[in-house]
């Protein structure tokens, strides 16, 4: 049952990734694209964790942690660029 649920979850998040990618492509605004990438990251984190359940391995945990952190840094840096140009001032 877990396996089945995990499969469904994988599919759902996979579709989520595709939806985010669509938004990344279409835009129309830069902010939309950044947002899409941010959401894509969130989906990826969910996928990694679900994948870990499916595989029965927690070796991928750090990866999920990193994606959580790094997605944030990229998004914030990008917004800072739009707002202030120089991201470290």
């Amino acid at each position: 049952m877990i396996e089945w649920a995990a499969l469904v979850a994988l599919a759902a998040f996979g579709v989520g990734v595709l939806l985010c990618a669509w938004r990344l492509w279409r835009g129309p605004d830069l902010v939309d694209r950044a947002m899409a990438l941010d959401t894509l990251m969130v989906n990826v984190i969910a996928l990694i964790v679900t994948w870990g359940i499916w595989q029965g391995s927690s070796v991928l945990f750090e990866a999920a942690l990193f994606f959580a952190m790094i997605g944030f840094v990229s998004t914030v840096a990008f917004c800072r660029y739009v707002l202030r140009g120089l991201i470290i001032e």
Binding site: M1, I2, W4, A5, A6, V8, A9, A11, A12, F13, V15, G16, V17, L19, C20, W22, R23, D29, L30, V31, D32, A34, M35, A36, D38, T39, V42, N43, I45, A46, V49, T50, G52, I53, G56, S58, F61, A64, L65, A68, M69, G71, F72, T75, V76, F78, C79, R80, V82, L83
Partner: protein, 129 residues
Amino acid sequence: MADMLIAALLLVGAFFGLVGSWGLVRLPQTMQRLHAPTKATTLGVGGVLLASIAYFGWVRGEWSVHELLITLFLFLTAPVSALMLARAWLHRERERVRATLPRPGAPGVDWGTFQPPPEESGSGAEPRR
């Protein structure tokens, strides 16, 4: 029983994750779409992380709570991401949006995106440290 709980958590997570992403595609305005990531973040990832804790604890007998750290980070960062994205959008669209926004209240005060903080206004050049 544990299996069912885990499966349920997974499915709940999956559902809200998908809804969030779907919102990103379907909602017509940028500001509306900004609501999507929080959905995917909170219940979407949250559900999956809970499922993971439960799975490794109950099914495999390796209790681990380090997934909570991911949640912690996500809960810490998601609001800032959203705020910065919103500000970026407000800034880019300022010509159009600024007039339509409600004002903060006090006279002469505007939103941070458009107005420098009180400490900064008035002083053109700042002394170097």
